[in-house]
Symmetry: C3
Subunit: 324 residues, 3 copies
């Protein structure tokens, strides 16, 4: 897919579709901008007027109330008007194409689309057809990418570890189906993390994953050895039962993060998870709620990071240079 699509002629970010092809300065700029929004969440009046009068459309062909809510909150705290649209309600069910749906919405002078779709590449497809002033954020497309999740994860890692230059990070679970893992690996590489490991059962590891610059493990304890960051992935257990994994009990015994397995990591390692967590499936409650867990910090940071991305994309437009 044409990654340059998301950059304008000056190399500024127009859309956020994938982290593939972005350089470190762009990622750092988003993380730095997000720092300035962290404070907004602590104020009594949690609003800034940056996107006042702009219209953000949450276009969720694949339902996800949690993710949609984070974008809705981020947009409202930037003072934008928000329209929530979801797949089963869209005219696409009447035979309209995705692009016709988008063309209609952009004809209403909407400014930004936050797109989630079960097919990889949908956000790219839309971005390649919208007029210059419209911005697209990929909120998850198939198995491909989930860049805002990866950026909030990077923000959380930097918040707790300072920088990426000395870090060992392990990502554990269903790597095969995870757009989150793909985006995290890209982000960690771009930000200079020297060692990224992935771990999971062989059936849930993509072939040639090592080409992404990661070390591959099937033994979880080996993978956690001496790491600074443990990222657990959500197991889509309901989709894969009896096929790719043997049983919930066996999965938990081999790949569930327990206090015991966690001792393999550094004593100051942080534990992350994109949520929602499956307690007792991929993570033990003692760990999820334990003092090394930063899972809820990820959620908090997610609002600030999404505000930063929205503000940057809108500011990247020549016509709206004053917005920031």
């Amino acid at each position: 897919m044409p990654v340059n699509l998301q950059l304008d002629e000056h190399g500024k970010l127009r859309h956020l579709l994938t982290l593939d092809g972005l350089d470190r300065s762009i990622l750092k700029s988003i993380l730095d901008t997000a720092e300035t929004f962290i404070d907004v969440g602590h104020r009594e009046i949690k609003k800034v007027p940056l996107l006042r009068g702009r219209t953000v459309v949450n276009l969720f062909f694949e339902a996800s109330t949690r993710t949609r809510t984070t974008f809705e909150l981020a947009a409202k705290r930037l003072s934008a008007d928000v329209i929530n649209l979801s797949p089963e309600k869209m005219s696409t069910s009447k035979g309209e194409t995705v692009l016709d749906t988008v063309r209609n919405l952009e004809a209403m002078h909407t400014d930004m689309f936050v797109v989630r779709h079960h097919l990889s590449g949908t956000a790219h497809l839309i971005a390649s057809h919208v007029p210059a002033h419209v911005r697209i954020i990929n909120a998850g497309d198939g198995r491909h990418a989930h860049p805002t999740q990866a950026l909030l994860d990077m923000f959380t890692i930097r918040q707790h570890k300072g920088n990426f230059q000395q870090l060992k990070v392990a990502i554990v679970g269903d790597i095969l189906h995870s757009r989150v893992a793909r985006s995290q690996i890209l982000a960690l590489n771009i930000l200079g993390c020297p060692e990224v490991r992935v771990a999971g059962p062989r059936t849930l590891l993509p072939t040639h994953i090592e080409r992404m610059g990661v070390r591959v493990f099937t033994d979880m304890v080996e993978a956690l050895n001496d790491v600074d960051v443990v990222i657990m992935l959500r197991l889509q257990y309901e989709r894969m039962q009896g096929q790719l994994i043997p049983s919930a009990q066996e999965y938990f015994s081999l790949y569930g993060l327990t206090p015991g397995k966690l001792t393999a990591a550094r004593s100051d390692a942080i534990v992350m998870h994109p949520g929602p967590i499956n307690r007792g499936l991929e993570i033990d409650s003692a760990v999820a709620d334990g003092k090394q867990s930063v899972i809820l910090a990820q959620v908090t940071n997610g609002i600030a990071v999404r505000m930063a991305i929205m503000a940057q994309l809108m500011g990247a437009s020549a016509a709206t240079g004053t917005a920031q």
Copy 2:
């Protein structure tokens, strides 16, 4: 359930979970505050800036568009941002617990949860786990409580009758399943109403209901004799057909409020109903639309009372003392 949970260390209301354990001054304070919001509904610009920049989450595990709309309107007229979340869309369907859902939402710096759930005690459960600055309003939990409905009913009674000191009030219908009735009885007791009666078929009267300080009737006309206020309850007929009541016709003939039965009450008695009404089942149209009916006044008052509760709860926080 620990009723003190809803009071802070100075005896101020932090959450509104139940009326049980609240004293008269707290209820009066809410009703008095609501008086000041009645006027807002008559203005051209029906908005006050009290909760500007705050985020109110309508967390309706049990669907109720009507009740949700009243809270949404109340919050918007206080200038809050509102997020509507409903059960079938929540991650709970992916195996997430109610508390994990709430913890995630509160990590997004949301300020107040309006919770409806079919299980008694859910609002208490949530309130006992949120951090100090988060406020919970119970919008109906199982058969347990519906305190905002009872408070708007009290507001409406006081509006028409001045005070509670000489009143006879009859509550008629399905007392057994009614969280509304339970909250009304508590409210009337706290506010000093000397005589509360309940009436219904024996199958729809809880055992030991008289311990709540009410007189119990199975004959509706006896129950209405000389009362100042008649409160009809909604019959969940679709749920109980052929089981707890014989037939709609027979129910109406025995417990439906007709102009004839209403003559047993005082000539200036008011007729109330929490809505939505079943015309010809628990109430005759001639009464519902008649001059003694204050059913639509209840709806109007509901907005002002919910604004008052929201404003008071937010003002009860030390950090936000200026909000009122």
Copy 3:
């Protein structure tokens, strides 16, 4: 149906239920007001404060995310608070009547209802029961009327053709089931268009349609001969398969708008469609995306026209004379 219902005692528009009975000055006034709102869509801050603090209820008994979104955007750009309510979530499913639902909502001091319903006359029914200060906009009722769609179509025609005095307009497709066509014919007649043609298969032409002042064709190319405007209707193919039309292929071959058939019209003819379009069923992609198509302009204009209608209706109230 009593058309005067929508005019106040001074002949000003109180509700917009149908175009039947409205005179040219009222339609022109709406189109002229809409001109002033076109600019708002091009601003960075796409908001004007005309309806600040007012509550607009989108009451869509018949689901239509697209149309609902246009009203939601129009209301938000006028700074109104918007409540979206949809049929399956309404208390009507609990046996409440439409009028009781509306009475409850208006008791919450809502100012305007945008009503869509599958039964003709529902908006009239509601308008005939609301208090004087409440405004009703018909967003489509059964086969009867869809006046806001017709007005945005008129706006688009005037935008491209200047006026209606010399125009030939052809409306093609399922005239029988189309509330859009009925409203368009009325609008064109009121605005002085000298020749309105309708074309479609005999099974989709209402009997006596010529009494509305149109010329009737079953041959599409004859109907398009020398026209200035071609309005294609959406075929509700999923509803009528095998009954009223033989097959999609045959329909397209006879009544689908292709570049070939379009050559029968004037070379500067514009092509319109209310959307969503069925590519390859009633319209060829080459035409829908071609240079004569103004389909997306219709969508853009729809926001401005709906803003104009909302602002005019609210301004028509004596109490709110300053809103305009």
